[in-house]
Symmetry: C2
Subunit: 334 residues, 2 copies
DNA sequence: TAATTTTATGCACACGTTAACAAAGTGAAT
DNA sequence: ATTCACTTTGTTAACGTGTGCATAAAATTA
């Protein structure tokens, strides 16, 4: 059915090698022949067989975009932004392959022949095995979102620690002293980074954080809701809460409303990420913006670069975060 | 580097043919040999080369998940839910390939050899060319989300018309008579269906819809916000608004708040989709639930079925929608 | 034991492409 | 005209796997 280079060869009265060369624009072929062959290829609607190509060239034309998990702890907006960013950069000559690491029982199917390169949106230390495997297989890899100091790969991360430091600092500047934090999934690196930045801001100003003011969440809305309920049940509830992501901040806001509290008059709330909806919550959410889509796009550029240049580079790229002040925070007043 | 069946053949002192058969569990091979070969394959950590396999078997082990567009008009939650649903069903022996149709200038690279099957989350009539192309290439395809009557494919759609009919009916039952609709992207089929259902509800009760009460949006939050501004600027603004999706409903709510209106006391708002956040808006959004993830999962099951049975079936599956009553709607009171 | 059937294995080619090497053609310099 | 260099094309094998057909080995039957 579908035409092959051999079919074209017959029509053009040349060998299939010549056709192959012509189509790959090899300088070995005379211009006239080249044009004739191109012409015929057009006419028979020739489409190269990528499996054959991949087999002989030992390349897959596939880029793997992996997440720690697709179903757990990856919010929709985060997930979508990542794919959008990568998709923007990767041309259609590449297959874009999307999976969660936790779908794999073992990594034997992850190897060089199947992936020209891997982009990993990494959220958990549990990914280390996967990364190790990829490096072992000598698959070019860029890891996004989670800092891996010293590893021989391209690493692009947002400066979460600094971001949450600014968030904490901001709340203090607003006169708050009773400030709580709702954390993300325990095993996620981002959870740790965001706590660290927050704690640093507190300590610098000599504020202590009672242990009841540090409460765990799961990065989803429901868990933010529950965490806030917990905080509000305390004998001295906080006057401001820093949430480790926007999803939880939205849940937290709801819990506050349910108790009849007003945000920001009675309670200030800060989120993290600046997802699409943050601008449209009521009140609009003050949050730390983290440019996921850009990070992903840069990751994609980097992986293409590595594939082109056929050498793995080591690089650490920090992307800055930015505090977006909206309406969910206010100056503390007794 | 990586072991091939020939390597195993040498180690086992058999031909590569025997190895191939053994690994494919052919009944031609003696149990003992089979076990021996399996054993060795394990030891050398054999991984089949899918390019070679695909080349000879004429199958790609790839399932394409296509969207009308990845960047325009596809909301994050919708996008993520779709991928989650498909991902849940498709085993890791398949490549899951994700792309937007609008990334393609022409469809020459979409052919049988490259895709065992295609799942299309279709939103626009502009997709018809693509569908036609797939059918022509005899690629098994299931189309989700958009009704294609009579086409020779599996078609899974939510009953949007009925859903919005119920939404309209509900608002009328609440005593509203001045009801507006904020529509989605013009070229999207869902836009039409949702309008149709809504209009039907109105007409059945003898309510007319003034043309100013039908206002266009783009399915994103910002456009819902603007559309609502438009409505509120009218000399007689509506007392209830049906929004063609939740994203726009959230934008609309914000516009209302900005004008000092209270939802639902001054204005009732209904959305469509029941995205994650709908439960957490303030007030929580009354909306029509559409089970995207389930639709996608069923689509994935269907495509696998078609691939297994090697015959394209024609089937139309309707998935019911459900009105979820929350707090953004109230009985009309003058 | 010989003939026949059944079972297990191997040979050789195919899938569609690229590439090293060989060969033929072209033109210029001697 | 002969040699040489260069340009263009063809021959052949290779990538890793599956399969029709031939064949060898084993089991069954006569």
């Amino acid at each position: 059915m579908a035409a092959t280079i051999k079919d074209i060869a017959k029509l053009a009265n040349v060998s299939h090698t010549t056709v192959s060369r012509a189509l790959n624009n090899s300088p070995l072929i005379k211009e006239v022949t080249k044009r004739k062959i191109m012409q015929i290829a057009q006419e028979v609607n020739y489409i190269p067989n990528y499996n054959a190509k991949s087999l002989v060239l030992q390349r897959s034309h596939t880029i793997g975009l992996f997440f720690t998990s697709i179903s757990n702890g990856t919010s929709s907006s985060f997930f979508a932004a990542t794919i959008r960013g990568v998709n923007r950069v990767i041309g259609i000559e590449y297959n874009l392959f999307v999976r969660g690491i936790d779908d794999y029982l073992d990594y034997s199917s992850i190897h060089r022949k199947r992936f020209d390169g891997i982009i990993l949106m990494s959220q958990s230390e549990a990914d280390n095995d996967f990364i190790h495997h990829a490096l072992e297989q000598e698959i070019p890899i860029v890891v996004l979102n989670r800092l891996l100091p010293g590893a021989n790969l391209v690493n692009i991360v947002s400066n979460d620690k600094e971001g949450s430091y600014h968030a904490g600092q901001f709340l203090i500047e607003q006169g708050h002293t009773q400030i709580a934090i709702i954390e993300g999934i325990k095993s996620f690196k981002s959870t740790e980074q965001r706590r660290l930045g927050f704690v640093q801001a507190m300590e610098e100003k000599g504020l202590s954080i009672p242990s009841q003011y540090i409460v765990g969440g799961e990065y989803d809305t429901e868990s933010g809701y529950q965490a806030m309920q917990q905080l509000l049940a305390l004998s001295t509830p906080p006057t401001a809460v820093f949430c480790s992501n926007d999803d939880m901040a939205i849940g937290a806001m709801n819990a506050a409303f349910e108790q009849g509290l007003k945000v920001p008059q009675d309670l200030s709330i800060v989120g993290f990420d600046d997802i699409n909806f943050s601008m449209y919550t009521n009140p609009a959410l003050t949050t730390v913006k983290r440019p996921i889509e850009d990070i992903s796009a840069r990751g994609a550029e980097k992986i293409l670069e590595q594939i082109r240049e056929k050498e793995t580079q080591q690089e650490l790229i920090f992307v800055e975060t930015e505090l977006i002040q909206r309406k969910s925070t206010a100056v503390y007043s007794e």
